[in-house]
Every structure is written in structure tokens, then in C-alpha cells.
Amino acid sequence: MIYKRFLTIFTGVAIAAGILIFAMGSNAQESLQLQVNVVSITVCGNGVVESGEQCDAGGANGPCPATCSTFCTTNSCGGGGGGGGGGSYTSPTPQTVVNFSGRAYPKSTVTLLKDAQIVATTIAGVDANFQMSISGLSAGNYIFAVYSEDKNGNRSTLLTFPVSVTSGVTTNVSGIFIAPTIDVDKSEVKRGDNIAIFGQSTPQADIVISVSSEEEFFAKTISDRDGIYLHNFDTTILDYGVHYTKSKASIGNLLISSYGRVISFKVGTITVLKEIKPEISKGDLNNDNRVNLVDFSIAAYWYKRPSPPSSVDLNGDGKVDLVDFSIMAYYWTG
């Protein structure tokens, strides 16, 4: 049999690259929007003492007589005593646990999703801090997400983070900072009048409000002890037409949330008050106030079919395609 010697070194990397055009904003105040929420993920059981851990003895973590617990806190095993004997001790199998902690809004309900399905809810404290735990997971990669609802029933955006879970260890996801909610008091505002932009975040947080159309403007305010913030925005500087606003929160220079939901209002020649009620989520196709698998199923039926109902065609382009599912995924509640 004849063998051909492989000689060719493949060097021809064909690159068809477009030219990167950096899209820079026109407003000097853009330096305000620099950072996003940094979530810290640590693993108890990897033998490395990480942020928030008192100890980590790896596989030796456990109850007394181990000096380090399965939650990476130092065990208080006491001393003295003696005697006794016999019997055998079987070390319990370490549990696979994922702990979540962070800030939402005072006394708000915080919902945790695992791979887009609700797995836990909790109520944040008056200081907006929350924590929750889930256990019994199989090892693997998961996408966790959290969101909260403010006192008016407005939902935050989903904050997601992929986590690789290892069997028998505790993973801590800390530093979660849910973005503020946002609403406005007018659907249309007469140019030159003020529009109230308000929402909820953590208490005493610095709130940055962005109002954008062609040019982006920023305003700053501070939330009160209930996490409520309000800013009266003077629309004199805005052109006629539709504008968008969003907000983010920071505490000192340590914690900065990402921007939350974007909502719109119109600047015109008259003022039209807006009814203050929770916004109906796009994607809630069966009107149960949730956006979940049922809605996905309805949309999936209409995927690429002719003449879909307008309620399913979320961007109104006459078809149900990936864009409609993307919009649904943004408003997802589980």
C-alpha cells in the first residue's frame, strides 16, 4: 500500500474582515456610563480561600471535627471532654449548593431562575439585601437569573450569570445588584414642561438617569430610605418626538448596577398623563402577567407561519421570527 506523506502546512487563513467603525456617542457626559454590575462567583470546596470565605480546606470541609465547614466558615468544635468510644463515623456526603446574595429593592420579591425556570423566590430586607440558596443540583453549567418587582409592581430587567456548578461544593454568587425600575408620569409631555422620571432601587443609592434620542442627556438623583427616586426632567432641551429613558444605580464606587429597562415618552404640543400601573410585558401572549414557556409555545406555533396575530408579532413586521423571540426573551419572567 502506498502512503502519501502529509507535507502541506496549511497557512492560508482567509480573512474577510469588515472595518470596525467605533460608534462613539456625541455627549461628553458619556463618561458616566462606564461600568456594569460585577457579580462575584466563589467556590467553597476548591481549597482556595476566596472573598467571603473564612476558610476552605477543599475536600476536608465538613462538620466537626473538621475545622472548616461545608459553607467555608470556621467550625467551633469546642474542646475538652473525653471518654466514649466505639461506633464508626461516616462523613456526610457534601451537598452541592449555590448561594446567591445581593441587593434589590426594600421588601421586594426577588425571583431566581435556573435555565429560565423559576426555582426560588425570597423577600429582600428593608435594606434591600437578599440572599437565597438552592441545593441538590447536578454538576454542570447553568444560566441563573434574578429579577425583582418594585412597590408599584414594575419589574426589573433580568440579571443573568452563567455558573459552572461542581458536585459536592458550595458556589457563592455574591454582589448581585439588580438595576432600578423606571417609569414616567406622562406618556406625552408638552415641550418645555417637566416630566417626572421615577422608580425604585436600594436606599440611598446614586441614580443616574439617561434620556436619549439623537443626543443623550444625563441627570443624577439619590434614592430615599425606601429606595424611591424621582427626578423632574426639563424637556426644554429635547426635540419634538419620541425619547427613551433608563436608569442605573451605584453605591459609593463599589457597586454599580447595569442600566435597567428602557421606556419611552413623547415630547409634543400637549401633555397626556400616564396611568401609573405595571407595564404589561411584551411577550405575555396569554395575558397571565407572566412571560414563560406557555408564551414561548404560542409564539413557536406561529414561527414562520403566514398572517400571525398581532399579539404574537411583537415587532409588528407581519411575521414571527427570531426578533419576536428575542423581545420575548428580554421580558421573560419564568
Binding site: 500500500m1 502512503y3 502519501k4 506523506r5 502529509f6 502541506t8 502546512i9 496549511f10 492560508g12 487563513v13 482567509a14 480573512i15 474577510a16 474582515a17 469588515g18 472595518i19 470596525l20 467603525i21 467605533f22 460608534a23 431562575l113 435555565d115 429560565a116 454542570g140 453549567n141 444560566i143 437569573a145 429579577y147 430587567t157 433580568l158 440579571l159 443573568t160 452563567p162 429597562r261 428602557v262 411584551k282 414557556l293 414561548f296 413557536a300 414561527y303 411583537l314 415587532n315 427570531l322 426578533v323 419576536d324 423571540f325 428575542s326 423581545i327 420575548m328 426573551a329 428580554y330 421580558y331 421573560w332 419564568g334
Partner: protein, 160 residues
């Protein structure tokens, strides 16, 4: 006596930028490793999403492979970052895999597995596994298309 024919697969990443005007571009790519497999042997190709600095909540595309060189044996979507498949990855013709799915809330990361394909080598030759008509959409509530670059796989299979 029969000797096992070894073929060497050299994989070269081809970058194709699909869209301009990005600050950062998301990327769909394959894991690029040089492998040595026997003719008729199976090997796995993973398709990954690198979102760079953006949250991506929907993706779709087609994976095209040369049917004269490769035979698709299996598609695996376990451990995928995609939570819900609009079109689960499946073979649509002899040389085409289509996929479409969403990630509620969006995914941000450098190496999110979309799915894996198991191929069996058939013959010597040069070929490309390509991704076509790919889209990734931003998690912005509007379905805005993200800037996307594609890294195709070029490979050369030759007897060693």
C-alpha cells in the same frame, strides 16, 4: 496485512466579519484543534458563542459541511447555553444543520456552547465547515441584531 490508514485533520480558523459598525462583535466559532483520526473514525466539533461585552438572547444559523468528506453522526445539545430551541439543531439536508434558540435574560461569556456535532471522516480532501445566515440578537427588548463575526473551520485531511 491491513494497516489502519491515519488521516490528519488540520483545522484553520477563517474569520468572516458579517457586520460593520461594531465596538465589539460577538463571535460564533468552532473549537479548533488539530486532530488525528482514522478514516471512518468519529470526532466532535463544538460550536461556541463568544458574546464579548454584549448580552445576547437569541441566535440562529446554519452549519454547512462537505458531505463528500464528512458524515454527520449525531448532534448533542446538552449543556447548551440555549434554554429554549425554536428549531432544535437538526440535519436539514445531507450537509446542513439548522438551529435557532433563545436565552431568556441573555448570555454574556466567552465560550458558551451552542451545540456539538459528531462527524465521521469519509475521505481525504480539503474542506470547510461553515456557518451561514447566522444571527445573534441583543437582549435589549427590540431584537437588535448584534455585530457578528464568524470563524469557519478549514480542514485538510490527508493520509499520514
Amino acid at each position: 496485512m491491513f494497516k489502519i490508514q491515519k488521516i490528519k485533520i488540520i483545522i484553520v480558523v477563517c474569520l468572516l466579519l458579517l457586520s460593520a459598525v461594531p465596538t465589539f462583535a460577538a463571535e460564533i466559532s468552532f473549537d479548533a484543534k488539530t486532530r488525528e483520526v482514522a478514516i471512518g473514525e468519529q470526532f466532535e466539533v463544538n460550536i461556541f458563542l463568544n458574546t464579548e461585552e454584549e448580552y445576547i438572547n437569541a441566535t440562529e444559523g446554519k452549519v454547512i459541511f462537505p458531505e463528500n468528506l464528512l458524515e454527520l453522526k449525531e448532534i448533542r445539545d446538552g449543556n447548551s447555553i440555549v434554554n429554549f430551541w425554536i428549531e432544535r439543531p437538526k440535519i436539514k439536508s445531507d450537509n446542513q444543520i439548522t438551529f435557532s434558540g433563545i436565552i431568556p435574560g441573555g448570555y454574556i461569556g466567552k465560550k458558551g456552547l451552542i451545540f456539538s456535532a459528531i462527524f465521521q471522516s469519509k475521505n481525504e480532501g480539503k474542506g470547510t465547515i461553515e456557518i451561514r445566515e447566522a444571527k445573534t440578537l441583543l437582549n435589549d427588548g427590540k431584537g437588535t441584531q448584534a455585530s457578528l463575526s464568524i470563524s469557519n473551520l478549514q480542514f485538510l485531511m490527508a493520509l499520514d
